[in-house]
Symmetry: C2
Subunit: 126 residues, 2 copies
DNA sequence: ATTATATGAAACCAAAAGGTTTCGTGTCAA
DNA sequence: TTGACACGAAACCTTTTGGTTTCATATAAT
């Protein structure tokens, strides 16, 4: 399955505080737009647009029931974030950090040598 | 300690692909601006601005050496991201998800009941 | 049949983001 | 001391973002 190459980037999607709030809200239960938007100090339409962005990133799924559209959390894309973050776990090990800084003291030309992850966490195939 | 209430949001800071690339690059070694910008298809000034944003988020630290400024990764703020993400781990447990959806089938009024994390992952003290 | 409800689409707008070029300043090298 | 280098600040421009209001459409309720 891999990454379904979504329309909107997950990193981009969660950058907005309103959208993060939406996610936590929709994690609890599926909800229709009007109910959701009741919790925000902005128009229903604005919330609706945020929901679309989240949907484009695969972070929420919509389901039509009668005249209402209900949204619910779809956590799977967050795994990409988790993967990205996992790389940096290694820096939380202080010993490794110390070692690295020690090495830095020597080589000062700025050449890149060590291995990096997929540089930006997105599958850029070049 | 806690959250030093940084000028720029971590979520915002990592939203840009260029900045994510910068982080992975600076994780490997400390580097001066001109060397860093050599790896990007944009002006040195543009890279410099991205570095400032990262610095404002606490994700990189700068150190002046002679006429050059070297930047290095400062991974600590990523812990906020990790904390945020940790909340959603619970949804990756399929059993819990199944249970929740079952419950949803009953209560359809859209009232919020369950406990949410800090809604948007930022320390909003009100 | 008519009216009310739930929602998305469209047009619009101000502010923020991401870039550029130009300029000033501090530092190193001849 | 003169020039080259490394860098940030400032002014500027274009595109994107986050919001608004208005309108159209589908469904539900009377």
């Amino acid at each position: 399955m891999a990454a379904p190459s979504r329309k909107t980037d997950v990193f981009q999607a969660i950058a907005d505080p309103t959208r993060r709030q939406l996610l936590s809200m929709l994690g609890e239960r599926e909800m229709p737009v009007s109910v959701i938007s009741g919790h925000f100090p902005m128009s229903r339409t604005a919330v609706s647009k945020h929901l679309r962005i989240l949907a484009d990133a695969g972070l929420v799924k919509e389901r039509k029931i009668g005249r209402e559209t209900r949204y619910r959390l779809e956590p799977e894309p967050l795994l990409e974030l988790k993967r990205w973050l996992a790389y940096y776990e290694r820096y939380w090990d202080n010993k490794l950090l110390a070692l690295q800084r020690f090495v830095e003291g020597d080589e000062t030309d700025g050449t890149i040598a060590l291995v990096a992850p997929e540089e930006d966490g997105t599958r850029t195939i070049d």
